[in-house]
């Protein structure tokens, strides 16, 4: 190439390179155009009764979405849902092409729905494909389907979003305003599987009629197997402890008046106390800041004393919710989904080595101390609720 400057011969080489490089620089060897791909929006994974893997994909049909917006005529459906059985996930994914014309592209997948039967098996092992494959998005949301197969969930045709997986993702994302479902991304799950002192907990999804789904609650796992479910309020208690609540509405009762408190900030911490080098107590510390969002009744809110009173009630309410979650997890499922063990492993490794063998049993027997600190910042546009002037 230095020769380029040396007259005619150099010019020839220059020309050859000039024509070769554009060919090489266009991209990768296995270049695929957008029109030659099927975009996967959602995936479902379940076990069949024979122990095989049942892979479901939801594929987007871009043409249908565009035409739907233009005219409400009879158009093909915007998404196609197909399933295929295989011994391994990868085999099923390739096998599914039996009635797709183009190859599937997985980086666009937004959700992965795990079936109940699969969850009762061992999900820790089965997720390897999703870590190893280069096309998988590590920020994909994972949910466990309750009372429905992943296929049924993905086949729901929502009116809200033509692509159902996007609709599901939306309902999971808005948990930051309600805090009743745990948002679990693939990367979080992989991290939790790898840590010895923490059990898995994944958000729950179920079918709500023909056109909607419901993402509420939590699937609790023990050693990779589904141990049971938590309801929305217990889930919220759990999320408060693991510091995953951004905002939520907590109802409290004050002198028979119903007050809705909006949690705007929350910080949860866990700790383990020791006595005689044995873990003696689990400590949960939660600090919340809340606003008064709604006051249904005839009470008074004017004085600061009233507000402090309200703070106390809120504290008790939150404590109750956490206790409910703790109780169920410790006594019924005996699975450390909070990560007390992980906390010990990090900060008191010398003790952790002693107790890690049957930590789940130790965990369920330990007493819990719940410390809640609540502060109310704002009361909104009016002070007292409306009353007839006397």
């Amino acid at each position: 190439m230095v020769m380029c400057r040396k007259g005619k011969k150099g010019y020839g080489i220059f020309l050859v390179l000039f024509f070769i490089f554009p060919v090489l620089l266009t991209g990768c060897w296995n270049n695929r155009d957008l029109t030659e791909m099927n975009f996967v929006a959602g995936m479902g994974l379940d076990r069949t009764e024979e122990g095989k893997v049942l892979m479901t994909v939801q594929v987007v049909e871009p043409a249908a979405i565009i035409s739907e917006a233009k005219a409400q005529s009879a158009q093909p459906k915007p998404v196609i849902v197909k399933s295929y059985e295989g011994e391994t996930i990868f085999e099923a994914i390739r096998g599914i092409l039996f009635n797709f014309d183009k190859k599937l592209f997985f980086s666009t997948a937004q959700v992965l729905i795990l079936g109940e039967r699969l969850s009762q098996d061992d999900i820790e092992k089965i997720l390897d494909f999703f870590q190893r494959d280069h096309e998988i998005n590590y920020r994909m949301d994972i949910l466990v389907a309750k009372d429905a197969t992943p296929e049924e969930i993905l086949e729901v045709e929502s009116d809200q979003d033509p692509i159902e997986a996007m609709y599901i993702k939306g309902t999971v994302e808005n948990t930051d305003a309600r805090g009743t479902v745990k948002r679990t991304m693939l990367i979080d799950l992989i991290k939790d599987i790898g840590s010895s002192g923490k059990q898995l907990a994944i958000g729950q999804i179920s079918k709500e009629g023909e056109k909607e789904v419901k993402t509420e609650g939590l699937a609790v796992f023990k050693d990779g197997k589904l141990a049971g479910w938590l309801g929305p309020y217990e889930t919220r208690g759990y999320l408060l402890v693991i510091n995953q609540i951004q905002s939520a509405i907590v109802n409290v009762t004050k002198d028979k008046d119903k007050v809705a408190m909006e949690i705007i900030k929350s910080k949860g911490r866990i700790d383990v106390a020791f006595r005689n080098s044995e873990p003696s107590k689990l400590i949960v510390k939660v600090e919340v800041q809340a606003n008064v969002g709604e006051y249904e009744g005839r009470g008074k809110l004017e004085s600061p004393g009233n507000l402090h009173n309200l703070e106390k009630i809120l504290k008790e309410e939150i404590k109750k919710e956490i206790k409910m979650a703790m109780n169920k997890i410790q006594k019924e499922y005996s699975s450390d989904i909070f990560g007390f063990g992980e906390h010990m492993r990090k900060h008191q490794p010398q003790y952790w080595k002693k107790v890690k063998k049957d930590w789940n049993d130790t965990f369920s027997d330990l007493p819990v101390e719940i410390q809640v600190d609540a502060r109310i910042n704002r009361i909104g546009s009016v002070k007292d609720p409306v009353k007839k002037v006397e």
């Binding site: 090489l24 990768c28 060897w29 991290k191 790898g194 990090k346």
Partner: protein, 372 residues
């Protein structure tokens, strides 16, 4: 001797780019798991010391390249023998870097492209660069190496939202041994590899600047490796970090919103390119000096071809590559990186002091050496 001159800032960036090279891809201190930050600090300090040795050699033998120093200190036969070993070492190093690069691209970016094509095309550019001379390499690194820092900082900052700051606990879970192993691995890779720069140091326009350039470069690289380690462990957690084939790639996948994977490829291309071209340059120069050929450019093509073939030849698969760079490379490098340079340093000192006894002067050079 080539009359080319590079400025101290160019040398600094060339050296930093070289040290950065493929280090982050192979993560040499990874064996220490979540204590790797300790290993990095120790290894960085050790590496800086080792690089100080190289700088001291260069300062004690001003304007002489490695081949000339070896010939002078070890005699014609011994010197030639060691020089040939060194040439082999440089070529081997270049081909390992090429292989790293190829393996990364083939595993992560271009999955179905044959590796020989990736490496071959990369090598074509490198030959062009090496043939342009050390001055162009210096100027190019001035232009490109800052991009590496930029990319590292951009990715680290954008990942500040997805992290777990306690991920590197507990400290010293498995005792000191893995930490020391990791530190040793880090000294030999990347710091010790800068022994190649004994062929480049003579081109520096102001010799005394070497005392500043070398430690500054070692410190900067240690800092970046540390930063990247903390970023990766905060984002991935120690388990996934240890299990992943190419850590930075996985980290870049986690960036919310947009895809920065190509940026990782770019840093590797710049770092690997600098490293590889310096190695090929050094091998070609050394070979020409020992064979008495004037212009090293005549042999770069042959050496690069050999490097490409060797890079395909050395490993059967990616796991062999990791095994070699973790378990064998540190010991294999020992003679080239530590034994020979220390020997040269000793011989240079002896000569210097005997000279100063005779003439009772030239104190300056000795002081310079003492600074290390």
């Amino acid at each position: 001797m080539e009359k080319a001159r590079i400025s101290s800032i160019q040398l600094f960036l060339l050296l930093t780019g070289f040290l950065f090279g493929n280090t982050l891809i192979l993560a040499p201190a990874q064996g220490a798991k979540n204590d790797a930050w300790l290993a990095i600090l120790l290894g960085g300090a050790g590496g800086a010391l080792l690089m100080g040795v190289y700088a001291a050699i260069a300062l004690l033998n001003p304007s002489k390249t490695l081949a000339e120093i070896l010939k002078e200190k070890l005699g014609k036969v011994g010197g030639s023998f060691v020089t040939i070993l060194d040439i082999w070492y440089f070529i081997h190093l270049a081909s390992l870097v090429l292989r790293n690069f190829g393996e990364f691209i083939v595993t992560m970016t271009f999955l179905e492209t044959p590796m020989a094509v990736v490496i071959g095309l990369f090598a074509v550019i490198l030959v062009y660069l090496v043939n342009s001379g050390i001055e162009v390499m210096g100027r190019l690194s001035e232009l490109l190496v800052p991009v590496i820092f930029l990319v590292v900082f951009i990715i680290s900052l954008s990942l500040i939202t997805v992290r777990d700051f306690t991920a590197f606990f507990p400290v010293l879970e498995n005792g000191m041994k893995p930490v020391l192993n990791g530190a040793f691995a880090l000294i030999t890779f990347p710091f010790g590899e800068s022994v190649v720069f004994l062929m480049v140091f003579p081109h520096l326009n102001k010799k005394e600047r070497l005392k500043k350039v070398v430690p500054a470069s070692a410190a900067l690289v240690t800092f970046i490796i540390l930063l990247v380690f903390f970023r990766d462990i905060f984002v991935l957690g120690s388990d996934l970090m240890v299990r992943s084939t190419f850590i930075p790639h996985l980290t870049s996948l986690l960036l919310p919103g947009f895809n920065v994977e190509p940026l990782i490829d770019i840093t590797l291309m710049i770092g690997g390119g600098v490293k590889c071209s310096v190695c090929i340059y050094a091998a070609a120069r050394t070979l020409c000096q020992i064979a008495g050929i004037g212009d090293y450019r005549k042999l770069t093509g042959a050496i690069s071809t050999f490097c490409v073939v060797l890079s395909i030849w050395v490993y059967a698969n990616v796991l062999e590559m990791f095994n070699f760079s973790e378990n064998l490379w540190p010991y294999y490098s020992l003679p080239f990186q530590i034994v020979i340079p220390l020997l040269l340093l000793l011989l240079s000192f002896r000569k210097k002091s005997s000279q100063s006894n005779e003439r009772a002067k030239s104190q300056k050079g000795k002081d310079a050496a003492k600074a290390y």
